[in-house]
Symmetry: C2
Subunit: 332 residues, 2 copies
């Protein structure tokens, strides 16, 4: 690997001049510029980013923390963040946290030591106090961390309301809810939305809300429990698609036909929901778009520290498929 010094020598100029031309920075005579560019080409010279980082104190790297990249919701988010990072010349670092706060803190430290330029967190375990003296830009994605932190989320409560109202509109009389983990803000908000709609119903008992884990397996078990205890249930709103798929499996297991006897609706609109049998009605989040926006917001903060800290809340949208009555649709 040749260095800036090699180029300078070959072009018969000083390293400062070379630096000026590679950074298009400061005055440099057209002629000497040509010479330098020639030398650069000849040596196939590429500036060493580590040296640049050391000098600047910034690395052109951003990190995304997600619980688990194997969850399709997070992989779509990751894809969006990476694409944006890439486009703006940043290197993308992916951190799987498994919702483990220790892991999060370890990553945080390690990356700070590498002069990372910013973080995007999808986390329900990071506390405001743990990051209060991190002095690089940060953005919370999907889940809020603290009010002082920029965030990009969706209107979870409204989405949940839409879901439950849809179930009612197609004739469901008794609607259960599989909620996500209680320490996740999106999950709490979706539960709120559910309650907004059904809290006055006389059939409502605590049996109608089961706690899941935002995964297929948890949805399956919660769904099984709920359907066994309340055979009269004819609609289930699961707080995410993965759990809704679990409910579909539970219904299949119990020989309850969907959507004839039971309507199921999820939340997120991951690709997977299109290929279940029946395909899943859901509340669509603009997953890629929010990931992209989080990255944009972060990079804006990085490149202009004066940028105001904003909280963006995106709308969601009902997507009708065959898992709820009278809305069948065969995709592909």
């Amino acid at each position: 690997m040749s260095t800036i010094r090699d180029v300078a020598k070959l072009a018969n100029v000083s390293v400062a001049t070379v630096s000026r031309v590679i950074n298009a920075n400061g005055y440099v005579n057209e002629n000497t510029k040509q010479k330098v560019e020639e030398a650069i080409k000849q040596l196939d010279y590429r500036p060493n980013d580590v040296a640049r980082s050391l000098f600047k104190g910034r690395s052109k790297m951003i990190a995304l923390f997600v619980p688990d990249i194997q969850n399709p919701f997070f992989s779509e988010l990751a894809r969006a963040v990476e694409d944006m990072a890439n486009k703006r010349g940043y290197t993308f670092i992916l951190c799987n946290t498994d919702n483990d706060n220790q892991k999060e803190m370890d990553y945080l430290q390690a990356l700070l030591q590498k002069s990372i330029d910013g973080f995007i967190f999808v986390s329900n375990t990071i506390k405001a106090i743990q990051i209060e003296n991190v002095n690089v830009p940060m953005v919370a994605l999907d889940r809020k961390i603290s009010s002082g932190l920029a965030s990009v989320t969706v209107d979870n409560r409204d989405g949940a309301r839409q879901a439950v109202e849809h179930l009612q509109s197609i004739g469901c009389k008794q609607i259960g809810h599989i909620c996500g983990p209680e320490n996740v803000s999106s999950s709490r908000n979706r539960l709120q939305g559910y309650l907004d709609v059904v809290k006055k119903e006389d059939w409502l008992t605590s049996d109608f809300v089961q706690v899941g884990d935002y995964n297929i397996r948890g949805g399956f078990h919660a769904g099984l429990e709920m359907l066994k205890n309340n055979p009269s249930i004819d609609g289930i709103f699961a707080a995410n698609d993965l759990m809704a798929i679990g409910v579909l499996k539970a219904a299949e297991y119990l020989n309850i036909p969907v959507p004839e006897k039971l309507s199921v609706i999820g939340f997120d609109d991951i690709e997977l929901g299109k290929i279940t049998s029946p395909p899943l009605t859901t509340i669509k989040q603009p997953i890629y778009a929010i990931g992209k926006q989080a990255a944009e917001l972060l990079i804006k903060q990085i490149e202009d520290p004066e940028t105001e800290v904003k909280s963006e809340i995106h709308d969601v949208e009902l997507i009708l498929r065959a898992s709820t009555k009278e809305s069948g649709e065969w995709c592909f």
Copy 2:
């Protein structure tokens, strides 16, 4: 952020001594060591990795190139690599290439400029000549790139044979194959394995092999085509699970009951195969294990350049589920 100089000043020693204690390197008096450690604690000092990297010419970062993290096969691989990287103190960089050679080359350059320590490639577009003078360790994963490069793969041909033989053993008479893209080595090997078993059959015509794209949609279309042209087909071996799921959807669309009239077998054993209806019989690759091993191999090469370049080939295993006759199994 305090520097090694601040620590030295506070502890009343030289920076060299501080360096010695943080690296447990060279002699240092127990007493002065205590003093230094005290100072480090007091200042909450953390060494600057960028400076370290500049000096050492290595960054403790490794990268993984995959076509698309949204494919669950790759996200499991990514998870494995990240876990291993993490464990060994490396930072993990994920690169989605979309099978775009230009993107691969751009990433390669960018990361080399950051003094990346090594690469793991899942690629069918990188050519040997493009990386011949990359002088950091590299490992090919899932797909070979060139014989000179360390690689971790599975016995695709044997797996394909097992798949087709299983179909025969349960009574399938006419077996079609949905193969993957022709420029992917695993896909070619699986086709070979299929042909090994059926090449002498008199029913075999070119209609029995359809090219897919390793994705659900491609599997759906290829399956549709095949089933429409050959109503007598009673078994399909798809070169990966995603396409097998597409075939399942195609059968559903055509009202062909699986496994009663048609048996379907995939390859990979991604999680998704467990939740289809019916669950998917498949050839299981040790996905996490090969990802982990690729990372181990890479790190070994990084830390000991004398390490010999090895090619590891893992065995695969038939997993029986309900998409092939007489092997029904209800998981969860």
